[in-house]
Symmetry: C2
Amino acid sequence: MKIAEVSERYHISIDTLRYYERIGLLPHVNRGENGIRDYNELDIRRVDFIKCMRGAGLSLEVLIEYMGLVQQGDATIETRKEILMEQRNLVAERLKEMQKTLDLLDHKIQVYENAILTKEKLMAQTKE
Amino acid sequence: MKIAEVSERYHISIDTLRYYERIGLLPHVNRGENGIRDYNELDIRRVDFIKCMRGAGLSLEVLIEYMGLVQQGDATIETRKEILMEQRNLVAERLKEMQKTLDLLDHKIQVYENAILTKEKLMAQTKE
DNA sequence: CCTTGACCTGGAGTCACCTCCAGGTGATAC
DNA sequence: GTATCACCTGGAGGTGACTCCAGGTCAAGG
């Protein structure tokens, strides 16, 4: 799968995909003999994972560390689990905060809605 | 309430509070005659709101626009409601994504946990 | 009086994360 | 055979959101 396709499918710009590779987040993607990237199953799964984690706010720094450990094999499983647990907790916290904010937003929208209705009623009365 | 107290209470640095004022996010805070900021009830509520919204990922740009409309009074209620609804939907989307990511993280952690247990069992067997 | 400390200002610097660009290669289409 | 096109590279540029700094004011304490 070539880079443009991956870019399209995951809504990550081509530049960003190349950038991720440069900073060592994505291990070097296989190339055709012309030097053109050709993403395989594994590469794609990695992109998917990164996209997902970035969406939840994990930093590139943490992801680079994690991906590096994955490359190093079984000996790093404990560390990787630690990292994921730590990040999981951060995500869970953010989630709770966002839920509260969402509720607040809904409340405020409701208040505005009422204000608008009241305003309209007043206008109608003025017309009578 | 002076700036250091506000900073402490909301975990926003003093520099950031001043910065928010400079860019027009926070309307000018009242000052004592010595020129020192003295946050009143309303100022504090605004800081609280901003903190909350920033936590959910709303951009400074949107918040500046919204706060500006609030300053302009009742005529802008409809617009403000529109803005909040738009942002509410963005937050709701992010929330859903994060929930999915959280589930994925929990799953991966579980997989690692199992891998670790298996590894330990193998070690024990080797000892026998 | 002088120092300390909390505040003030405008402007510059930093950080994370991209995004763009100039210049180059190699395959396909006319 | 040359033009177009999708890709390549390394490096520079940009953006959002702070964060720091030098230099200054003022009040209170020793």
